[in-house]
Symmetry: C4
Subunit: 208 residues, 4 copies
């Protein structure tokens, strides 16, 4: 199985999912007080921005993680497919959360649905990593052994943080959305991952 | 005609069709009892998951099958286009089936529509294979002759199983959805195809 | 400007437009008589199939035509963009035509809208060709001079036939849809184009 | 981080955003006076055409600008993501503006929303450029120093012109749409950028 073709399929699916997000912002119901109608939709806009950031940063991390794999086998393909399924699903809870916040109805339920989606996603990430790195099944030979445990820890912390987001959702939907925004920023700035990609860059010239 | 460009077009269409599936889950009608509204939609979610798996596994098989072709001619292009037309159509019966199951109305009709779509798809797969493998028209020279009959048998069994799914749909819509899920798992685990891809991998180093 | 990147952008837009077509089939309004509801939608399905074929065959021809260009400049980029704009627009009149035929209201108007879109598309094709082939501005040096006039004639005939389809639309909407289906088949079988691609294939080994 | 993969992700997102625009044209509400219904929608069509041109030309400029970058780092990736977020958002204000003009209600508010989106987009372009060109952080070594100030000036003028479009929107929504069309044409014809791409083409043979 060609790794680059699986990466291209993943890239395509990321690109489409991130673009479909705009369809989650409900069009104005009437145009008489359009300014009011549009500013009222700010929670949809906020949810759109958070999910856009989440998917964009995930694309980057997907890129980094797969860069450490020497090849893709059927098992990884199916786990990656499960991961993509949760990403592609994200526009649905994004739309529901934005609309629930605007209406002031069902916001906590919507935030739970959003957090559950993200949690399943985090577990799919963990499964991808554990499958590919376990006994170095698909890892690049250049990948340093001491970084393996660190990465596993990072994925484990990720699943715990996202599971926690379900609790935050039960408390307050706005706090939950902010929490997901902060998690995205954390993953964007994550020094571990940056160190990793620098290490990968150094290892790169050595690869054929 | 460049084979890689036809494969890239197919990949793109697979990626978009799999992503559009999320639009088949109907948004909540009201937000007052949102928890109830969302859990009520589990048949749409189940149909989404089955169709997602179906398209993902088909992408993989498309990849495997085309990997055995030396080139693409106009005839194969048009048959592949017909195949893509049935895949791209899948979101429609997926959405109808999920909604019919939720409403408890028209579920068997919807399951028949889903199964007919999948059956036409199976025939399109058969046509692609028979056209390309007949008199080894487009097969790689490395493709072993004794695997040709086995593959033709596998495609024939596929068309029979999918035709059978129309009968299952007439009995029970839930059973029909489960049947399609099982067929997808069967194609995902199919030892024949795995043996084939392993053989192809072995043949690969010998190709220029 | 990299020709391959313009071709990839075009390919992506073709792939998305062809996949969005499925959204033009209206979902069932009610599920009580679902069989009736779905079979009623056959004009939408027919319009979907015709437009799918049209876009698929255009992708192939786009591929052939651009294969004869040595490079892409800004002028060709903008004409190609205009061409893509008419292709991307096609789902709209496709959806309107299918629905108008089902309702038995406004079918001729809808068929005119469809035909006008296709006519503008044909003129855009003509403009792309005339711009790129005029004084051999962007043609491959290997492209035989005597094939140039033939191709120009073919594009001219295309614009005439599509303009004619507006007349057919005024007579009967079903006939118009069939006419567009036939035109697609004609472009799919077109011996001139097939001869051209064979000639291009022969010329290909000579190119660097 | 692979520059070509970031460019491919961007290309994919451009292609999808430009294709989703067609979904912003509202389908006919009734089919009895379909001719009237469709011709009434000309503002949606005009908004569609302007936004299509805007995104198409931006794709070209994205291509030109990134062609001058030697590589992509995390900072540029996130700024590019912010830029893509505003482009992907464009279908929403496009749809609202077309519908507001048709209804003759809320047109100025809709034009302001469109102009604000474009202004944020212009600032994102400026940020991409300033980040990558500042102290020549990511510029190709071949990029001539004297062209740097000119390009910075062009981006600054762009942000001013787009900020001005908010004022035009407050005066008249049609004028605002025309203004955005003219800005797109200006960016399409922009002699500076054409000179730049010619210079880049000349520099190209010297690059490895």
């Amino acid at each position: 199985m060609s790794k680059s073709r699986v990466e291209m399929l993943s890239d395509g699916i990321f690109a489409i999912a991130i673009t479909l997000l705009v369809l989650t912002i409900p069009p104005p119901a009437h145009y008489q007080h359009l300014g009011h109608e549009l500013t009222n939709r700010w929670p949809s806009l906020a949810a759109y921005a958070v999910s856009f950031g989440v998917i964009g940063i995930m694309w980057l991390n997907h890129h980094s993680v797969f860069g450490n794999f020497a090849r893709v086998d059927r098992g990884l393909f199916y786990l990656n497919l499960a991961l993509l399924m949760t990403i592609v699903f994200l526009p649905y809870p994004t739309g529901v959360l934005g609309e629930a916040l605007r209406r002031g109805q069902g916001a906590r339920v919507a935030a739970v649905a959003y957090s559950v989606t993200m949690t399943v996603n985090a577990y799919a990430w963990g499964a991808v990593w554990l499958y590919a790195s376990g006994r170095r099944r698909l890892l690049e030979p250049e990948f340093p052994e001491d970084r393996r445990a660190g990465a596993t820890l990072a994925f484990t912390v990720g699943t715990i943080l996202y599971t926690l987001s379900i609790g935050v959702a039960l408390l307050n939907a706005y706090a939950c959305l902010a929490f997901h925004g902060l998690l995205a920023v954390y993953y964007a700035l994550d020094p571990l991952s940056r160190r990793a990609s620098r290490a990968a860059a150094m290892a790169d010239p050595g690869s054929p």
